[in-house]
């Protein structure tokens, strides 16, 4: 292909990627080393507040931002090096807790608490998603042709639901006396509060995520199953291989690239777990790294936002994803190189 044609095809996508992926990333990276503060002054302010009958006016010294001639808040930006990262990681507190050998103390530091959950959520749901996805794919593949269409359609439904809506539905099913809690209460005769302690909330989150993502794994595996070499399977049958042996020695090796692919996508997606935290309102018990970034970003009533810490936290999340992806990526790379020869 001529370079000109190649550039015309690839150019727009490269431009988009630079504009919408690389540029924001660079800006977040830079902001994580900066702190932008409004220039503040302390002034006497008289504020009048209505009571029910009369007004009370109080004069107090308030710290307020200085406005420039255009009515904009004046700000100053300073380089602070790794200060924002230190504020997020709180290493001094972390080492102190490690020194005391107190797991509970480590879990009181937001970042480490979030990291603990994010990692266990990502790593525990991964085998479940792959296992359940493969099981559905095998079941559908073995189902009779007449019902295959509807079964595929129904199995795909959980994947179509928007994560926020999905987690909210689970929340409303299980909170207080939601339908399912009420049913379980009648069944067991005890009062069940799924959202009163961390482990039940986490269990619901794992359940929800597997339910939501397994259909995606299923579709990929199902497509993969169509390409399994029938001759190999038949010779395995003739050699007297059992169902399990055929799965173990023929089908799974054949699907391995797909399993790695699903694992890659799942690790990336799961490490950004956020919807479950918001939908289940689990902030009191369980938080995730992505939620931590969001919490830093959310302005409070006075309009303050911790942009620098949010940037640092976002960068740390990205570094975490890269670490998680190294293993499956190395495998793909090796496979790729192997097939090139």
């Amino acid at each position: 292909m001529k370079f000109k044609t190649f550039a015309a095809f690839v150019g727009p996508s490269v431009f988009m990627m630079l504009l919408f992926i690389a540029a924001p990333l660079v800006s977040v990276f830079i902001q994580s080393f900066q702190v932008t503060q409004p220039i503040l002054e302390r002034v006497e302010v008289e504020t009048c507040t209505p009571g029910f009958l009369t007004q009370t006016c109080t004069t107090e010294t308030k710290t307020i931002p200085v406005l420039d001639d255009n009515g904009k808040t004046m700000t100053q930006t300073a380089w602070v090096g790794l200060q924002s990262y230190r504020n997020v990681l709180q290493m001094d507190k972390f080492w102190e807790a490690v020194g005391n050998g107190s797991w509970n103390d480590i879990m009181q530091i937001d970042f480490w608490k979030a990291l603990r959950f994010t990692l266990s959520f990502t790593l525990l749901t991964l085998p479940l998603v792959i296992g359940v996805g493969l099981a559905i794919a095998l079941a559908v593949n073995n189902a009779s042709r007449t019902i295959r269409g509807p079964v595929i359609f129904v199995s795909l439904l959980p994947f179509i639901i928007t994560p926020v809506i999905g987690s909210l539905s689970i929340y409303w099913l299980f909170v207080g006396d939601g339908i399912l809690t009420a049913m379980m209460e009648r069944w067991t005769g005890t009062n069940i509060s799924m959202f009163a302690q961390a482990w039940t909330i986490e269990l619901l989150m794992y359940f929800y995520r597997v339910w939501h993502v397994a259909p995606f794994a299923f579709v990929i595996f199902y497509a993969g199953l169509q390409t399994v070499n029938m001759d190999t399977l038949e010779s395995a049958v003739i050699d007297g291989a059992s169902r399990w042996e055929r799965l173990r020695h023929v089908i799974i090796p054949h699907l391995m690239p797909l399993i790695v692919f699903i694992a890659l996508i799942h690790l990336m997606d799961c490490y950004r777990v956020f919807e479950e935290i918001v939908g289940f309102r689990s902030q009191a018990h369980v938080i995730s790294l992505q939620w931590l970034t969001y919490d830093f970003m959310t302005p409070d009533d006075a309009g303050n936002r911790a942009i620098s810490r949010a940037s640092a936290s976002a960068m740390l999340t990205m570094i975490g994803i890269v670490f998680l992806l190294i293993l499956p990526l190395r495998r793909t790379w090796r496979d790729h190189k192997g097939s090139a020869h």
């Binding site: 503040l40 009048c48 507040t49 009958l53 009181q108 302005p299 009533d301 309009g303 303050n304 911790a306």
Partner: protein, 406 residues
């Protein structure tokens, strides 16, 4: 065909909304407003919509949207619904305009009490006061022979009796959802014990005797509330009340009207209101005073501001209030206090009076720190002293980042 019908129905309902039913004039300038989404705002914005060319956005997330929306030029909304807690970022950024001339032009019906003056300039017009008050099931308390509690100790004593009688699922409801709500509970309780939030140099001062007492009092509630109280916000508690699941709660006055709404409440006429309980005997009610009202954006033309303010006055007139008397503790003329307002009025007029919510830049940071650090105490993961230390550390970190502390 079906879609067509829906589209038609939608069009008609829009036209219905824009009918110039009870408005004294026809509004020709397009006006938009952004405010919170409770009963009183519905009443006010519905009245404004009667004049036409008006779009209201009622959103409980308004507090995070408003500062950016008003900073845009031109501003995305002409009218903002604020409270004393949420006006601070708008004042700080200078995105709302002084209203003195507009009040002189259109504000004949306003009382001096409604005019929120900051350094002498009118920056907002208040329409209602809001505060927490003790809502209780009068039938249950009467059946069990319990006096209406006036302090938190009495509340817990009453809760114990109600729990023993087993007439409701949980004697108490509380707005302890992690984040803003639970922080507000502390902000209510802590000054009741005489605590102050900051030292003169803006450093935090919550790690104090009063702080420990406030935490202990909050913790006592857990024995009487729904175990899932850390996910419960105002709406959740309101629904618990309406479904007859709880007997008492210290809840917002703006939620009182919903108790007698026959369309959604099973306890119509059974919920009565008293002043917010005190933290210590003879002290001020452990709550904060709030007001809700309107502001006008700065980044709009004077003509738009004129139209917006005139429209707002139409929404805040006696007619609106008489149509929605129960929706709030109105400051607007024509309001007739009813039984459900008794508690809030008693709270607001108590001596010593509860403080107004201290809305400042520091308080915003403190509120966030409280909201993030308090849950660990209530789940039992951390003791009271460590929690107060953690709150101060969290505040100090964010205050340094925001430039409030050096």
């Amino acid at each position: 065909m079906f879609l067509k019908k829906i589209a038609l129905a939608g069009a008609f309902s829009l036209m219905g909304g824009a009918a110039f039913a009870a408005c004294s004039y026809e509004n020709t300038v397009p006006i938009k407003s952004l405010s919170a989404g409770f009963e009183a705002w519905k009443a006010v914005t519905d009245a404004m919509a009667e004049c036409g060319n008006f779009q209201a956005e009622l959103d409980q997330e308004f507090r995070t949207k408003q500062p950016a929306a008003f900073e845009a030029n031109p501003s995305l909304y002409q009218i903002g619904g604020v409270s004393n807690g949420t006006i601070t970022p708008l004042i700080n950024a200078g995105t709302i305009r002084p209203l003195d001339d507009l009040v002189a032009k259109y504000g004949q019906n306003l009382t001096p009490n409604q005019l929120i003056r900051i350094n002498g300039e009118i920056m907002a017009v208040a329409m209602m006061v809001n505060t927490q008050h003790l809502m209780y099931r009068s039938d249950i308390l009467a059946d069990l022979g319990i006096e209406v509690p006036t302090s938190w100790d009495e509340v817990y004593a009453a809760a114990e009796k109600i729990q023993a009688a087993g007439v409701v699922d949980y004697p108490l409801g509380a707005t302890m959802k992690s984040g803003w709500n639970i922080a507000q509970e502390f902000v209510n309780m802590y000054p009741g014990f005489g605590g102050k939030f900051f030292n003169d140099d803006n450093t935090a001062a919550v790690n104090s005797e009063a702080g420990l007492q406030a935490l202990a009092t909050m913790q006592k509630a857990l024995a009487f509330t729904d175990p899932e109280v850390l996910v419960s916000d105002s709406t959740y508690v309101q629904q618990q009340f309406q479904q007859g699941k709880i007997a008492m709660a210290n809840l917002w006055a703006s939620r009182a009207g919903a108790m007698d709404d026959a369309a959604e409440s099973q306890v119509v006429g059974k919920v009565a209101m008293a002043a917010a309980p005190t933290a210590v005997a003879g002290g001020a009610p452990a709550t904060t005073l709030w007001w809700d009202g309107i502001v006008i954006a700065k980044n709009i033309s004077d003509e738009e501001a004129d139209a917006a303010f005139r429209l707002a006055m139409e929404g805040l007139d006696a007619e609106t209030v008489q149509g929605a008397n129960e929706a709030a503790i109105w400051l607007v003329q024509g309001y007739e206090p009813t039984d459900i307002a008794a508690g809030a009025i008693a709270t607001a007029m108590a001596t010593p009076a509860p403080p107004a919510y201290p809305s400042t830049t520091q308080m915003g940071l403190m509120h966030t720190a409280l909201g993030n650090e308090l849950p660990a105490f209530l789940t039992g993961d951390r003791d009271a002293e460590a929690t107060l230390v953690a709150i101060e550390e969290a505040y100090t970190t964010s205050a340094k980042e925001a430039g409030v502390l050096k």
